[in-house]
């Protein structure tokens, strides 16, 4: 694999990685689209457009990959797995509990989990934020905007 040196660390070229990603996305859609009917020139089938676009995307993916061998380009930026994981998890837990356990569980859970991503807040601040945002959600979304959401477990 083509690697380049940046800040004394070896980093993979972003062209290479995105090229491979686009190649696989393009191929995936093209192959799948082929299984829907391509139709005729006069009556393009449901597969024609995504097939064509998928093929072009795959070609550009190859071009990017080749380009990464020719010139170094920008390296891939560092991944922050902790914050990616915590933000996503916060959303999923918040969503999973929203209609079953209600706003009083879902909102504080999402706030608490996603707050951990910054790592700079004290528990007291997180607690206060969870409280304020729960009240805010109740007043703005449920009372003012009339969105059908249970407030606490079992309330409907």
């Amino acid at each position: 694999m083509e690697k380049i040196i940046s800040n004394g660390r070896r980093r993979i070229s972003s062209d290479l990685l995105s090229g491979l990603l686009f190649l696989s996305i393009g191929l995936f859609f093209a192959v799948y689209a082929y299984s829907y009917s391509l139709g005729s020139f006069a009556q393009l089938g449901p597969g024609a457009f995504p097939f064509g676009v998928g093929v072009v995307l795959a070609i550009i993916g190859v071009a990017l990959t080749l380009k990464s061998f020719a010139e170094s380009g920008e390296p891939v930026a560092a991944f922050n797995l902790k914050s990616a994981g915590l933000i996503t998890l916060g959303l999923i837990i918040g969503g999973a509990t929203l209609t079953s356990l209600g706003v009083v569980v879902s909102v504080p859970a999402a706030v608490a989990i996603s707050s951990l991503a910054s790592g700079s807040l004290r528990p007291r601040v997180i607690f206060l934020m969870a409280l304020l945002l729960t009240i805010f959600t109740y007043l703005v979304f449920i009372v003012a905007l009339g969105i059908q959401l249970p407030l606490y477990p079992g309330a409907h």
């Binding site: 393009l44 449901p46 995307l57 910054s118």
Partner: protein, 500 residues
Amino acid sequence: MDMISNLASGFDTALTIQNILFCFIGVLLGTAIGVLPGLGPLATIAMLLPMTYSLEPVSALIMLSGIYYGAQYGGSTTAILVNLPGESGSVVTCLDGHQMARNGRAGSALAIAALGSFFAGTVGTLLIAAFSPYLSRLAMSFGPAEYFSLMVLGLVAAVVLAAGGLLKAIAMILVGLLLGSVGTDVTSGVQRFTFGSFELVDGLEFVALAMGLFAFSDIIANAGGKEDRKLLTENVGGLWPSREEFKQSWKPVLRGTALGSFLGLLPGGGATLSSFASYMIEKKISKTPEIFGKGAPAGVAAPEAANNAGAQSSFIPMLTLGIPGNGVMAMMIGAMMIHDIVPGPEVMTKNADLFWGLVASMWIGNLMLVVINLPLIGIWVRFLKIPYSMLYPAIIIFSMIGLYSVENRISAIYMGAGFALVGYILNRLRCEPAPLLLGFILGPMMEEYLRRAMLLSRGDPSVFVTRPLSAVLLLLTVLLLITIVSPFVRRKRKEVFVED
């Protein structure tokens, strides 16, 4: 005159209590968002989109566009006071605006930015009113082949003129086109790429895609970062520019307005490109180029006028042709579709109230920005002190409930979380997400026009080059692609986007 009576009827629509209120909410939220670094207009509009579902279409669009130009305005406040661009259109304002603030002229820099923006906004509004009818009349004569070619040109031009790697941007458009094809195919009824999932039958949820790519993935990228916001001063000083500063500013404002109005029309143009280009020009033609970067009023006036003019005139292709030139306009088209308005030249005839009401509200909104915000500067300064670590959980909650409220479906939240990861990965691979959104919005329309054009020509693909208008559009696309790979343009392009 037609334009006057149209504008008058527009003001009738825009001046109802309800629409004034939503315009006010829009510019206020927009300014707040623009002031807070790390929260751009795209993320904000995505976040607030669900709240506009229950509004009348015209009120929804008035509020959303208020957010856009309000954010331009707020962004310059942060640029001047903290030396951080609140959003990308105000990157160059940092250069001289912040230096002016360091020289004790913060209030004056803010006022120059505000008045320049207001002037540019007024001109932009008049331009929209004057030129849109002609463009939409021209577009009425378009057949499906012309439309398809126009969209190809629009998409290619949008990435050529925007910052970032060209190949990656084109690839992102194509990914957007593919994602847009997920769901039931309207013509054949076949379910494409749904993998048996009931949730995907109607296609990917636009709001989930937008929030994931613009709001959530930004949060992931910024949440772990260090907080580095030093406020220069709490005391912004007198708000009036001196006579000398005024003299140095008015011509750059005129030039910036002209340049911004023109660049905003082009796909990929809009605020960011306009402000960069006008700063370069001012520096080049100035008799005292050495004071640029050291607090030259012209270096604030020109780009601020240009970015506001560009923001306004980028509405023209969106409203008349249904072609979004940048991410925000794609968002506006998404909002229109949510309200069952078919974007394109017919908006002007079928939804005349909406069109003229929106145009009139832009001027009202710009006026509100000057009148309300200059005296309120003290409040915005306080806004600047909110730490990001307390801000983003609120954004997450707001977006999460908003996503659910779109169709009362939890799956929209999961979809948003999925696109958060996708957006973050693409961000790390240094791929801009805006072209993907353009492709996603235009994809279904492009496919439809392609199929119709092929059907009308009985399967002869040469229709795209034998119909003169379509041929010209495709020729322009090819020319654009050729010029961009030429070494000269590549170098220039790098110069313009030197900050990226």
